[in-house]
Amino acid sequence: MLHNDHKLPDLAPPISTTGLVGWARQNLFDTWLNSILTVVVGYFLITTLGPMLNWAFLDADFFGDSKDSCTSDGACWVFVTVRINQFIYGFYPESELWRINIMFAAFAVLIAALVIERTPHRGWIALFTLTLFPIISFYLLYGDAFGLEKVETHKWGGLMLTLVLAVVGIVAALPIGILLALGRRSEMAVARSFCTIFIEVWRGVPLISVLFMASVMFPLFVPEEMNLDKLLRALIGIVMFQSAYMAEVIRGGLQAIPKGQYEAAEAMGLSYWKSMGLIILPQALKIVIPGIVNTFIALFKDTSLVLIIGLFDILATMQAAITDPAWPRVSTEGYVFVAFVFWIFCFSMSRYSQSLERKLSTGHR
């Protein structure tokens, strides 16, 4: 009796299930509906992507010094390269640009230090970023102290103004939002009603009208001498508006914490602030990270609304630049560039929040 205990060698899988073909069959053409969708989407991609890439890169002009440098049919990025300083720094005096660069560099280093986990003393760095750094940045940007030339806020603009609005909004709205959220769930009637009214009033009006009130109505109510800076007025408006939203996001987190946690904290004899700071908030904030980041991203994009009150963030700077008669027909390039800048910032924020979620995930499900 012939006994064969040798295993036959494995045959290669059929060609239709491996490689590109297999992947395509499994993912793109597995049902007839998907096949139709694939063909339709593919058709659109081929017909639009090609000309788009052509326009943006292959046929485009990147360097030069005037509209005449744009000789090909594609995008005229010369418009952006010529004005890149204006888009980034606004109308900031050219001799003082180093101050913004230092601020940008310091900000980037601090953010990097906070994002990378192995950095020593991260707690102190965070404290510095949230308290001293804004003050230093203010003096660096505004000047009028330490021998720095004063640069008034009407000269601020471009990406730098967008970042100032967004970062101040984010940094100030989070703590105020936390306090408001705690206040709204407080058992003290006065604090609770104050916080509720504050949140509902600011959340009930659109940001545009807040900015409008800040820029148009407010100056009429105060005497002429007490003219608050327009940027400061807009900032206060944005912070108020944003903290109301933030408060509601955080309240969602507070309510998601099981009652047992509150009771456990009390049972340990912790005071209100200690139980909140050590037990409740760390858990609550972790739950609402997606919501918080969502609010931040929305705020970052909302900053471009300041163009209706004549503050020149990056979008408004670009819109003013395309009115230059020396540069006709460059509006598409301008808008694409600004959209790209916004996308970079929002996308990085969203990626960071996802990694933060993964890191902090301790299995509350």
Partner: protein
């Protein structure tokens, strides 16, 4: 009781006296103390106020502010520009955030009389006009019956348009767009036969077309839009300064004074020029300025003709003809009282 009444009346009288006294001259003093003129401009209007590649503000409206700065402070660059949207502009002036509003603002009765503001003159006579493609073969707006009209949203433009067509018993179909870029695209893609806007802006829109030479601006102007700088009411000195800075621009052109030849002409013996540069005549006393205020304007900003050419005229991409903005002696409306 009576005493209190008298006292109160006295207080009111003295208070109002104090207020009128402090309202006068306060703008010029503020400007001189600060060292710059606060000027409200648009957030970007081609040829009138827009930032150039270096981030400097340029344009017709900007040059009015530069002229005032040259007259009051001796330096045309001593201006702080505040870009304002259409809705903010009057508040910014009323609240003292700016000293002059030079932002393509049409002089109308309501604005002049009920906002506590004064128009100091006209630096550009604008009016609503029409642009058509050459292929349409239209020579006059009266041949436009039944046309589709591209309009940039803005109530006066739409109202003027409907008035004009109704008066002439014509029909039209409005196609409304939100921004100038969209309007141009709509016109280019044939959504409408004609495009209407203020004439100065038609030229700005025309250079955005793929083929600017394929479009013409029709001769009819259907509305009056005199654009000029605005100041707060109640400070007559400042009002005079702005008014006469504009007059100096126009008078300089009439006398043939330019930024290039003013130094040379200054030494000559033409009486009008000697009065202009402050060697004779009224000088700067009545305005509270130095005697060479008008000289500074011409030297640093140029005359009205130079300002026009550089920003919207032959020397610019817009290439607008002088038309009604020519000097009165050349068939236009620009006429300034003599400086004597």
């Amino acid at each position: 009781m009576k005493k209190i009444g008298i006292f109160a009346a006295a207080a009111v009288v003295s208070l109002s006296f104090v207020q009128t006294a402090s309202a006068e001259d306060v703008t010029l003093k503020g400007v001189q103390e600060r060292g710059y003129v606060q000027c409200g401009v648009s957030t970007g209007l081609p040829g009138f106020s827009n930032p150039d590649e270096k981030g400097n503000w340029i344009g017709m409206d900007v040059d009015v502010c530069r002229a005032v700065a040259a007259a009051t402070l001796g330096g045309a660059s001593k201006v702080k520009y505040t870009p304002l949207t259409a809705k903010e502009r009057f508040t910014a002036l009323q609240s003292g955030e700016i000293d002059i509003l030079s932002r393509n603002t049409t002089w109308t009765q309501t604005r002049d009389t009920s906002l506590g503001l004064n128009f100091a003159g006209v630096n550009y006579y604008d009016g609503q006009g029409f642009m058509v493609t050459k292929t349409l073969g239209v020579k006059s707006a009266l041949e436009l019956d039944g046309a589709a009209v591209c309009i940039q949203a803005g109530t006066t433009t739409e109202l003027n348009l409907s008035d004009y067509f109704r008066e002439n018993n014509m029909k039209y179909q409005p196609v409304v767009f939100d921004t100038s870029d969209q309007t141009v695209k709509g016109f280019e893609s044939g959504r409408c036969d004609i495009l209407t806007s203020d004439a100065s802006q038609l030229y700005a829109l025309r250079i955005k077309l793929e083929n600017p030479d394929g479009a013409i601006v029709l001769p009819e102007i259907i509305s009056k839009e005199p654009l000029g700088p605005v100041v707060r009411q109640g400070d007559d000195q400042w009002f005079n300064i702005v008014k006469w800075s504009m007059n100096a621009l126009i008078n300089a052109e009439e006398m043939g004074l330019t930024s290039a030849n003013v130094d040379e002409m200054k030494g000559g013996d033409i009486p009008a020029v000697r009065r202009f540069v402050g060697l004779d005549g009224p000088k700067g006393k009545g305005l509270g300025l130095s005697d060479d205020w008008a000289y500074n304007i011409v030297k640093q900003v140029g005359n009205y003709g130079e300002v026009f050419d550089r920003n919207v005229g032959a020397g610019s991409a817009l290439n607008i003809e002088r038309g009604v903005n020519a000097l009165w002696s050349k068939g236009g409306f620009m006429y300034a009282p003599p400086m004597r």
